[in-house]
Symmetry: C2
Subunit: 171 residues, 2 copies
């Protein structure tokens, strides 16, 4: 099972492609960041994010797309612009016909570390360990994308939890 | 000059296509609503909105796409989901290569009525009059789309204002 995890952002959209053998062994296929320039108008940046995610979906043909839920910034404007970026990520997934799962940050932490209030460092430590990497994926947005993919793989082993989440995504 | 105006929403995305003869005479070409079902998952609804706007752009080949800015609902979650819908509208415009203009609600009211604090009824009255319609476009989301298109046409006659807005959209 291959999962593409995405941490949406207008400046940096982190992604991670993680493979699971169905018996608990997971490995990292690829990770990185889709960067856009702040000098470009928002529609141009949205097209870059959309094209980047569409290309990843076409190249890896994942079984699932796991998208981190919006981080509610104190600045409402920032949160809304983030919603724009997340919208085109979900659209790319729907166009590709892949199963889409939306995970709140706390659920990602819980699935990877076992604690919904874990720190960023704890998440990075655990994913480095679970994927047997020599160092933490860089930059941190890429690591967040990997964590989203890993969280789906970890929780997908508990069918009822995965089903509940899919229903949640449908609501 | 043909302008497609859009009032984005996850349930109802209103649109209006308005034509200007360049000498102040404006006429309504078409208006309506792209409806999505609340029972569908968000990614499905976003695809319906994206496909609907893409179809309108292909059929009318407008010179400009005028998109109402996000209404900041008291419920942050509602505002963020609206950001998702608006994101796929801007993406459709960028993919089609049309000039995109983002207008805050107050600017639409000011361009149509001459007062940024005008009521919905005042806006509907003025657009019915300016477009020489027998009645207000229905439903109100369609009227909001028409207002966005009309506002761009009205302000485009003042070149410096239109340029300032385009710079704003680029920032």
């Amino acid at each position: 099972m291959i999962v593409l995890g995405i941490d949406p952002g207008t400046a940096n959209t982190g992604y991670g492609v993680v493979k699971g053998d169905g018996r608990g062994l997971v490995s990292l296929v690829e990770c990185g960041v889709i960067r856009t320039s702040a000098r470009q108008p928002l529609p141009v940046r949205l097209l870059e994010i959309f094209d980047g995610v569409t290309e990843l979906l076409a190249r890896h043909r994942p079984d699932a797309l796991s998208v981190e839920d919006v981080f509610y910034a104190k600045n409402v404007r920032t949160t809304v612009v983030l919603g724009h970026a997340r919208g085109v990520v979900l659209l790319a997934g729907q166009q590709a016909g892949v199963a889409i799962f939306e995970l709140p940050p706390a659920e990602i932490k819980k699935a990877v570390v076992g604690n919904g209030a874990a720190t960023k460092e704890q998440v990075q430590f655990m994913l480095t360990r679970l994927l047997r990497l020599k160092s933490v994926p860089q930059p941190s947005d890429a690591a967040d994308g990997v964590a989203a993919a890993l969280a789906h793989l970890m929780s997908a082993r508990v069918p009822t939890l995965a089903m509940a989440r899919q229903r949640g995504a449908t609501a």
